[in-house]
């Protein structure tokens, strides 16, 4: 297990480094040099000598890898620059936006997990029943639904037609008000990928159910419930869990849409606003942060999977030839 952790951890670090190089390349390819970003139009009016001095001060005359190393150390120490638009420190803007996003994503995750576990297990056990067909059709519909349109339709029903739920913000006082603001965005985010979760769980439960070791367990007279939760479910949960790791990136992307629609003051809305306003430091910080969250998340999911299923760590190590 330790060997697996070390190998998987080094892999994640390499991915993070590559990602940071991509981000650095992104800054460098942006229209306008860093000097122009600082001084704007005034740069044109300066003498050549001044321009060179500015470039030297900013470290632009150094080799590109030194510049990258300096930039990366800065990022690690929280030096994310200032917003082009408001002059506010990016670090602070991000810090304010992280909490609402975490709340939203946690609420969505709870909804996804509870519903998909329930529906996935039942449909997996009763394949080709009426209930299974209904859930299958529903999951396909949820896979095809653009989440922003689903959000619009829910708004139309709950806010315009019934007038019971608010359409923007996080609410001002009281936990009841706050929950009222949370419920629609959380459901939309939670349901946006639920189809995949249900399908994955259903298919793997159905396949595992017919394995020979399950027959052996049945022959030994072990109760149905024990077989399901102690033997079938752990086997079927591996692909479910690894999809969860992958879908972290999907749901961060989804939160951009949902937060924008519901004016939820989180990371997603911040990054879209930054993009529309060409506020690159903020956008870059949001990209870097989301990327790190996804990489760390999938690392943790892999650890959990390997802990549940020892075959997995042997397989992964073998595949990499270590």
């Amino acid at each position: 297990m330790l060997r697996f952790i070390v190998s998987r951890l080094s892999e994640s670090i390499v991915v993070l480094l590559i990602g940071s190089i991509l981000c650095f390349a992104f800054i460098r390819m942006l229209p306008g040099s860093p000097a122009a970003a600082m001084y704007g139009d005034q740069l044109q009016k300066m003498s050549k000598a001044d321009q060179i001095r500015i470039a030297e001060n900013l470290g632009l005359d150094e080799p590109i890898y030194t510049q990258y190393a300096k930039w990366f150390m800065g990022v690690l120490q929280g030096d994310w620059g200032r917003s082009y638009n408001t002059g506010e420190e990016v670090k602070m803007m991000i810090a304010h936006a992280v909490e609402p996003t975490i709340i939203l994503m946690l609420a969505a995750a709870v909804i996804t997990i509870v519903l998909s576990l329930f529906l996935g297990v039942i449909t997996g056990l009763r394949r080709y029943s009426f209930f299974d067909h209904a859930v299958t059709v529903a999951s396909f519909i949820f896979m095809s639904l653009p989440s922003f349109w689903f959000a619009l339709m829910l708004m139309l029903f709950f806010s315009v037609y019934l007038g019971v739920l608010p359409t923007s913000g996080m609410g001002q006082g009281g936990i009841g008000d706050w929950l009222k603001h949370l419920i629609m965005p959380a459901f939309i985010l939670g349901l946006s990928h639920i189809g995949y979760y249900i399908r994955i769980l259903r298919n793997h439960i159905a396949v595992t159910q017919e394995k020979e070791f399950v027959w052996a367990l049945q022959a030994r007279g072990i109760s149905k419930r024990t077989i399901l939760w102690k033997h079938i479910f752990p086997n079927a949960s591996i692909p479910y869990l690894s999809f969860m790791g992958m879908s972290l990136s999907l749901s961060l992307a989804g939160s951009v849409v949902v937060e924008t629609l519901f004016s939820w003051p989180g990371l997603g809305r911040l990054s879209l606003k930054a993009a529309l306003a060409h506020d690159y430091p903020v956008l870059l910080a949001a990209i870097l942060l989301s990327m790190s969250i996804v990489i760390i998340g999938s690392f943790m999911v892999d650890l959990i999977c390997a802990w549940i299923d020892p075959r997995l760590r042997r397989h992964l190590l073998k595949e990499e030839g270590r």
């Binding site: 990602g19 896979m143 653009p146 619009l152 806010s159 060409h278």
Partner: protein
């Protein structure tokens, strides 16, 4: 394929064909202009003259849906082709080379995959001025990664097959191996991925346009039509939002179902559906 399934597939194909024809024949089917603004008849609910109502600038929603379908379906197909070409290329090279090159390429893939797709699209969008072509390129450039990974896995496992080793022994060159043996074997995967690629691209176009960073606003596309819909929706103009969204959902649903049926038919290993029939 069971009898019921056949009906389903035929029905889906008919729907898609009908949609395609309707968008191509848009000028024949409707006498309105998708771009002309009529301020005298803004936000009219569905009626005999305007079956799906009119939008905030008095343009006929049905007409815009038909013309918008051209753009949305074009984006869907074109972006898919770009994604397949990049993805298959990357996957084949990575799987074929193996070793250190493969490992580096896979880590690059991991890094790209860990950036949430919309943020990646926004990031690339910064460099390309917004137009139909840019949307196609952006969606294509941000959705090839899963294809690359699948193809790479497939090439890896094919490389161990006896018939490939036999061709190497007989003296087949790398190009021969790739074009005559490896790529044709990957074809089923490529076909299935290209179908799911279309639905992904249609959804992405809709999302991007809705967020205001996709197709330029004056041109109708299904996502564009929903862009301003939120504010009018809250004041009760439901028809502006309902019909484009329904059309997107139905189309993506049809394409997804088709992909699923094909996946079953080729018995691809991603999501196996085993057991009794």
């Amino acid at each position: 394929m069971s009898e019921k399934r056949k009906w389903l597939v035929n029905g889906l194909l008919c729907y898609l064909l009908f949609l395609l024809l309707a968008t191509i024949l848009a000028p024949v089917l409707t006498s309105y202009d998708p771009l002309s603004i009529g301020l005298a008849k803004t936000l009219q609910p569905p009626s005999a003259a305007h079956l799906f109502g009119t939008d905030e600038l008095g343009r006929d929603v049905l007409t815009r849906l038909l013309y918008g379908g051209r753009i949305s379906l074009t984006v869907g197909a074109a972006a898919m082709i770009i994604a397949i070409v990049i993805g298959a290329g990357f996957g084949v090279i990575s799987g074929f080379l193996g070793g250190v090159a493969d490992r580096i390429m896979m880590r690059i893939l991991d890094a790209l995959l860990s950036i949430p797709s919309i943020l990646l699209m926004i990031g690339i969008q910064v460099f390309i001025p917004s137009s139909l072509l840019s949307v196609v390129v952006i969606i294509g450039m941000t959705s090839w990664m899963p294809i690359a990974r699948l193809i790479r896995t497939e090439i890896m496992s094919l490389k161990g097959e006896t018939f490939i080793q036999a061709s190497v022994v007989v003296g087949a060159s790398s190009t021969q191996l790739l074009t005559r043996h490896l790529l044709p074997q990957c074809l089923p995967t490529i076909i299935v991925m290209s179908i799911s690629g279309v639905s992904h691209a249609i959804l992405s176009e809709a999302t991007l346009s809705f967020l205001g960073i996709g197709i330029p606003p004056h041109e109708p596309s299904w996502g564009n039509m929903l862009m301003g819909a939120q504010s009018y929706l809250l004041s009760g103009a439901w028809w502006i939002a309902l019909f484009p969204g329904l059309l997107i959902t139905c189309t993506v649903l049809a394409v997804t179902f088709l992909g699923d049926v094909l996946q079953d038919r080729f018995a691809l290993p991603q999501i196996k559906k085993g057991g009794r029939k």
